[in-house]
Point group: C2
Chain length 243, copies 2
């Protein structure tokens, strides 16, 4: 349950989706694909834009966010290596409901919608996997929304630290060398609070010795305490049935 929330959360790996495609289908996708490099802060697509294809994150980290008219920014999700980007709008034949931008140097492959649609049309298998993936994403979304609606800022800060530690763990990383490297502003916009409030809570954790930070980088030292702060499960532990 707990591990569910943290590890399942936030890595809908795209490679699963494309497994089981025929070689001709794969090459169809590959042939039309273009890979681009994005610098920090570069925008990949914009809220309200018309989708022209889907994106695959080869490397780096991308934020999906939305700006309010008042200039506030809400970050919903970070996409890292292996994740797809921008396919909801394409499938829904909608405009993008959010924007996407790199928060660090990223390498992203673009697949034009015609090719994607063509392959999708010919592959019920892909369609089914997509349906499954979308269904699962809803679960994540609902959990996230519940967090937003019912948790305090304090709890959300802790929760997001745990999520981010996971997200910033590079496949190549070993041990616990994971650092969260992200601007305070972005982090605040992810938690959904003012950057000042975020900073104060981080300081508090730092003074308590639960995290350490030098510059932007944050490391979790005492995961147990952060977990407690996140209050992920309350006291509502159910008794187990005897089988």
């Amino acid at each position: 349950m707990l591990s569910t929330l943290l590890s399942e959360n936030f890595r809908l790996n795209a490679s699963l989706l494309f497994e089981g495609l025929t070689e001709s289908e794969r090459s169809n996708l590959r042939r039309s694909a273009v890979t681009h490099t994005y610098k920090k802060k570069d925008i990949i697509f914009r809220d309200g834009g018309i989708p022209t294809g889907i994106y695959y994150v080869n490397a780096g980290i991308v934020k999906k966010y939305k700006e309010t008219p008042k200039g506030k920014e809400q970050i919903f999700h970070l996409c890292s290596e292996g994740e797809l980007l921008g396919y909801h709008a394409l499938l829904g034949e909608d405009r993008y409901p959010e924007s996407a931008a790199a928060i660090e140097k990223s390498e992203i492959t673009f697949i034009p919608k015609e090719n994607f649609r063509h392959v999708l049309k010919g592959s019920p298998k892909l369609a089914n996997r997509l349906l499954k993936a979308l269904g699962q994403e809803f679960t994540l979304f609902i959990n996230n929304m519940t967090n937003f609606a019912t948790k305090t800022v304090r709890e959300r800060v802790a929760y997001n630290l745990l999520i981010l530690e996971e997200k910033f763990k590079r496949p190549t990383d070993e041990h616990d060398a994971r650092e969260i490297v992200m601007s305070r502003t972005d982090l605040a916009n992810m938690v959904g609070t003012a950057k000042e409030t975020l900073v104060r809570l981080l300081q508090e954790y730092k003074r308590a010795g639960w995290i350490d930070s030098t510059g932007k980088a944050i490391r979790i030292i005492n995961r147990k305490e952060i977990l407690r702060e996140a209050n992920l499960m309350g006291s509502g532990q159910k008794k187990k049935a005897p089988f």
Copy 2:
């Protein structure tokens, strides 16, 4: 844009999904379907439960919600006549991430998962429509989440009144005879606030003459002012291009 938010929002009509099925497919679904009546407050499925099929709302209104360990309830969505229920979890091969309960007497048809899956397997058309529908639902979800994360309680109350007016408009209704009939607690749980706060804001609107309420029923009198309160677009109107 504005009308987008309100009318598109919240009526993903299921009949569209099933259009274009062959008669044998339809009858396959119909044959296995069972229709049940649920009283107010009856639970249709529970958070954590294992999906055994999907539900179609023939009549009535159903809330999709989640309870936190601390006993708070967050309502995400109301399903009314013509909407499907519980298919995300089925498609995702997940447990339900939320619960569903009738908030008024409702009539709901259940379709066992075997039949649904069987028909889905045989109908790429259905799969495509589902993909499209799911893609569109993400747009709604993201808008909702942005509202939660960035709007004040005051704005969310107004916003939800507009949504609900739409939702409670029965297909049979004419004119503006639409009343929102819902417990204050449910309404508060939808807005994501305490019922006391909700009541105070409603009173304020009532005194201002923007809404009217007798007992549970709420009617919007001055839609314009409520819209302004909801602050749906801020002041960020873009200029139009000259073509």
